[in-house]
């Protein structure tokens, strides 16, 4: 067992975890933040993406013990201006259907926007390569990211 201390959505948390416990299982289990979803548990689909120290990470592949000392933000904690704009754009552009990929998609989309890569479709599509959406064909997701990038860049 390993003692860890993390910040989760701005709140400090300390606890003891099994070495094999994934960050996703910690988040969804003991932390009861079920907005993070597991689609494949082998690091391909991106549904479990959360922000770890400002960078999107696969929470299904990351051991919870490896997150010791990290600040983690899940969909439940994404409430900056950019996140709110993105939420509005996701709705306006019908960027979600079943909603299962959405939280991981939001984590990646926010990262794309923060890195200033949301200005052209080809770049957005390439950056989204690590997130699978089986419902939308990505059309609305790409449009939503473009929309926010255009809104927020002079």
């Amino acid at each position: 067992m390993t003692d860890i201390a993390i910040t989760i959505n701005g709140t400090a948390w300390e606890g003891t975890v099994e070495p094999r416990l994934s960050l996703a299982d910690l988040i969804r289990g003991e932390l009861t933040l079920t907005g993070t979803h597991l689609g494949c548990e082998h690091g391909v689909c991106g549904a479990c993406n959360v922000e770890v120290d400002g960078v999107p990470m696969r929470s299904c592949l990351m051991p919870a013990a490896a997150a010791d000392g990290c600040a983690i933000t899940t969909i439940e904690g994404q409430y900056g201006e950019m996140a709110e704009r993105l939420r509005a754009a996701f709705t306006t552009h019908h960027a979600l259907q079943c909603g299962f990929c959405t939280s991981g998609m939001m984590a990646t989309a926010l990262d794309i926007l923060r890195r200033g890569l949301g200005r052209d479709e080809a770049t957005i599509r390439r950056e989204l390569a690590g997130n699978i959406c089986r419902c939308t064909g990505y059309q609305g997701i790409v449009a939503a990211i473009l929309h926010v990038a255009q809104e927020t860049t002079p």
């Binding site: 979803h37 689609g39 548990e41 439940e76 996701f90 390439r126 699978i132 089986r134 990505y138």
Partner: protein
């Protein structure tokens, strides 16, 4: 004064609007509630041990000595508690297979359940499952549908003479005469490989038995809660349907894959009934790859007979489908070949049709429905042969198709396969799609790139009623959909319905329909679905039926409720009920108005203002059964422009146009989303997705790193052209459109690649189109 309320359509303000979805808020906040998100006190997890062999005799299962008592459940533990699954089809040629809920004696595919293990959490359950040692005595595996037909392939199921689930054929028209009249005879042998719905949320089930009430509650990621409940009552002993509650919470995509009755659901139910705590099973992706239903896998031979002037005279087709190890309930594996043979004519008319449809058993995961069912494969066969026949005649492929299409004025049109088309303008769709895709593109292609354009034209039977389900031999004749509409004492509208929405946005579309009739904004309407205790019986969301059928039910219930509201309002406004208009959240009379919440309060809590001949409360159940039950046919033309890299064989989609007609569009935002999403799955099937097995029956693609679903970089923005030909057979003139997007792409992309490579004598015979196949074919 006019009777302005005869139909809500004349003054509708919400139907047809691209309103944003009511579902979005919870998902964007991370507050969706999927089955894996459920927290119940005392819950324990189940992991399944699944067969590692494709075909073997199953001997005893060695359980470690330190396994806790009651942790391991083998088939014997379920004796007398559950019955094998038998998917029936009321057709003489059909032969059912019993699907064991847990394997006993024999395993017939990798992934079949061999034992269940119960532990405090999933990791511990998996730990123990891994330590179980079943004794397998391998048997030869059948891994290919053509192999299944060989005399040396022993029957997989007891009592079977061969490995055929079903074979049927028919010749319509004077086939020999048409063949004799034809100038050209073009044949292709085609393959469409095995794919799966592959929703991003895997399957899952939580079961809890309440000893006090005797009620068994199951939360299942399913598309059909009511039917699953009916079937569970048949499969389980010791409990009645009345005492089973099935809840489909937020479901993370289904696409047909979550419409089957699965063994896991029965096992979890049986376990919960014997345990003092709830049990949970959440499927992992490997399990999903080997045990959730697969689809398609056709071997096809098709011949077109045509005149040199371009008249299509006759089509001859043979479908052979690999149905996998067991017949899944309810669709059976025969659904794929049977439907393909009946929908093959598509938008075309010709004089004679001969088909043979055969479905065989193999040692692979069972086949069930996936978006399109039979139609992607039928359209692939038909449109490939249309393309090749046009080339053989030397005619433009669009001209050739236009020449043989059913004309709009011919509706209702009975196809040569016996389907009754209600309406549609197919030539117009093709013309629009062709103009759009053929518009000059940007730039010249480099020398090592070949550009091609291809089409896939289809009709899509949707929202068919009892007559059609009965004709197919379905044991459940899906004839109706119900809606219960309540207005509570404070004026809030609650719609409950037996369909299930798992991405289709039905909470929004149905609210728009209700809002129009009741004169309230759609966001004041809450739509509840997916709970057999809260919702009226319904068939669930399959077969592109939910909007039309549940929409008809919601419309009918709201119309009846509206009539009652008008009478209450008229009584209190001192006017005639016919003079009351429901709009803006009010009942408006010629001389004054009453807010809807005030009318509702009268109906429940101020009965002194309620006319004596009006029943109290505002609560109506209405069942919609369409007056014509042969279905409302959507139609579409998909057009693809591709670039083939002649050095690598890699295919890139440059442009994709969909010209479609789903009748009245209720919410354009949602309709476009359904189309784009379906097209993505269709492109996956055209270029990327396929399961493969080795000759031992071992699946070689069992992760999302091997089984490739399209990502954003592989796709383009689909350009959509709408055409609205209203169905005369449905309430709103709407037609279903959930599946259409996935139907056209394999044909359109295969035709585009064939068009690009015609100069090299290469044409596509198989989807997915693999770079290595094209590279091989293009080698000098």
């Amino acid at each position: 004064m006019d009777s302005h309320h005869d139909s809500n359509l004349s003054n509708s303000s919400q139907v047809g609007q691209p309103f944003t979805r009511l579902e979005d808020r919870r998902h964007l906040a991370g507050q969706g509630g999927f089955v894996a998100d459920l927290r119940l006190p005392g819950i324990r997890d189940v992991a399944f041990l699944r067969s590692s062999m494709a075909h073997a005799r199953l001997g005893p299962i060695a359980v470690p000595a330190d396994a806790p008592a009651g942790a391991v459940w083998t088939a014997e533990a379920f004796h007398g508690l559950v019955k094998p699954i038998r998917a029936v089809l009321d057709r003489p040629a059909y032969r059912p297979s019993d699907q064991p809920v847990m394997a006993e004696g024999t395993v017939r595919h990798v992934g079949e359940i061999v034992a269940a293990v119960l532990a405090d959490n999933r990791a511990l359950a998996e730990d123990l499952a891994e330590r179980l040692e079943p004794a397998y005595d391998p048997l030869p595996a059948i891994t290919d549908p053509e192999q299944a037909l060989l005399p040396e392939s022993a029957p997989l199921h007891p009592g079977w003479a061969d490995n055929v689930y079903m074979t049927m054929g028919r010749t319509t028209g004077d086939f020999d005469a048409m063949v004799a009249r034809a100038d050209v005879h073009v044949t292709r042998h085609l393959r469409m490989e095995r794919v799966a719905a592959m929703p991003l949320e895997t399957r899952g089930c939580v079961a809890r038995f309440d000893r006090g009430s005797g009620v068994l509650t199951l939360w299942i990621a399913t598309q059909r809660p009511h039917l699953i409940r009916t079937m569970l009552a048949e499969q389980l002993t010791g409990i009645e349907e009345r005492d089973i509650r099935v809840i489909a919470p937020d479901v993370g995509g289904g696409f047909g894959g979550k419409s089957n009755l699965y063994p896991e659901e029965i096992l979890l139910a049986a376990m919960a009934m014997r345990l003092p705590h709830p049990v949970r099973w959440i499927e992992d992706r490997w399990e999903h790859m080997v045990s959730a239903s697969h689809s398609r896998q056709h071997v096809q031979t098709i011949t077109a007979h045509a005149t040199k002037e371009g008249e299509l005279l006759a089509v001859d087709v043979r479908f052979l489908v690999d149905g996998g190890a067991y017949a899944m309930r309810t669709s059976t594996p025969a659904v794929e070949a049977n439907m393909a043979s009946s929908v093959l004519p598509g938008p075309y008319k010709f004089q004679a049709y001969r088909f043979e449809a055969t479905t065989v058993a193999t040692n692979k995961t069972p086949v069930g429905p996936f978006r399109g069912v039979g139609r992607p494969a039928a359209v692939f066969a038909m449109e490939r042969i249309m393309e090749e026949t046009a080339a053989a005649i030397g005619m433009d492929p669009v001209e050739f198709r236009l020449r043989n299409m059913i004309q709009p004025e011919e509706h209702p049109f009975t196809t040569i396969s016996g389907l009754v088309y209600d309406s549609g303008d197919y030539p117009s769709l093709l013309t629009k799609a062709a103009q759009s895709i053929r518009a000059p593109g940007k730039g010249d292609a480099p020398a090592n790139i070949a550009i091609g354009i291809g089409f896939g034209c289809y009709t899509e039977q949707t929202a068919h009623g009892a007559q059609e389900w009965h004709r197919r031999g379905s044991p459940f004749v899906y004839g109706f959909e119900a809606a219960r509409v309540r207005i509570d004492p404070s004026g809030g509208v609650l719609v409950s319905t037996g369909i299930q929405s798992h991405g289709q946005g039905l909470e929004t579309s149905l609210a728009q329909i209700a809002g129009d009739v009741l004169g309230v904004s759609y966001d004041r309407v809450r739509v509840v679905h997916g709970d057999t205790e809260l919702c009226p019986y319904g068939m669930g969301t399959v077969a592109s039926r939910s909007l039309v059928m549940a929409g008809g039910a919601v419309e009918g219930a709201c119309q009846r409720l509206a009539a009652k509201i008008r009478r209450i309002a008229a009584h209190n406004l001192d006017c005639a009920a016919d003079d009351v208009l429901l709009a803006g959240g009010e009942a408006q009379g010629p001389g004054g108005s009453i807010p809807l919440d005030a009318v509702a309060r009268i109906a429940y809590l101020e009965l002194q203002k309620l006319p004596l001949d009006v029943e109290p409360a505002l609560d109506i159940l209405y069942c919609y059964r369409p007056p014509v039950e042969t279905g409302a046919y959507s139609s579409g033309v998909h057009a693809a422009k591709v670039a083939v890299d002649l050095d690598s064989g890699h295919v890139k989609i440059l442009d994709f146009v969909v010209a479609e007609d789903c009748g009245r569009v209720i919410n354009p935002l949602i309709v476009d989303g359904q189309i784009a999403g379906g097209v993505a799955q269709g492109i996956g099937q055209a270029l990327l997705e396929e399961f493969q097995y080795d000759d031992q029956g071992q699946p070689t693609k069992v992760t999302l790193a091997d089984y490739l679903v399209p990502g954003a970089p592989e796709l383009v923005n689909v350009r959509i052209i709408h055409q609205e030909t209203l169905s005369p057979f449905t309430v709103h003139g709407a037609k279903g459109l959930g599946e259409g997007g996935a139907i056209g792409p394999p044909a359109a992309v295969a035709n585009a690649v064939s068009d690009a490579l015609r100069q090299f004598g290469v044409d596509v015979r198989r989807v997915p189109i693999r770079p290595e196949d094209l590279w091989e074919a293009l080698r000098p």
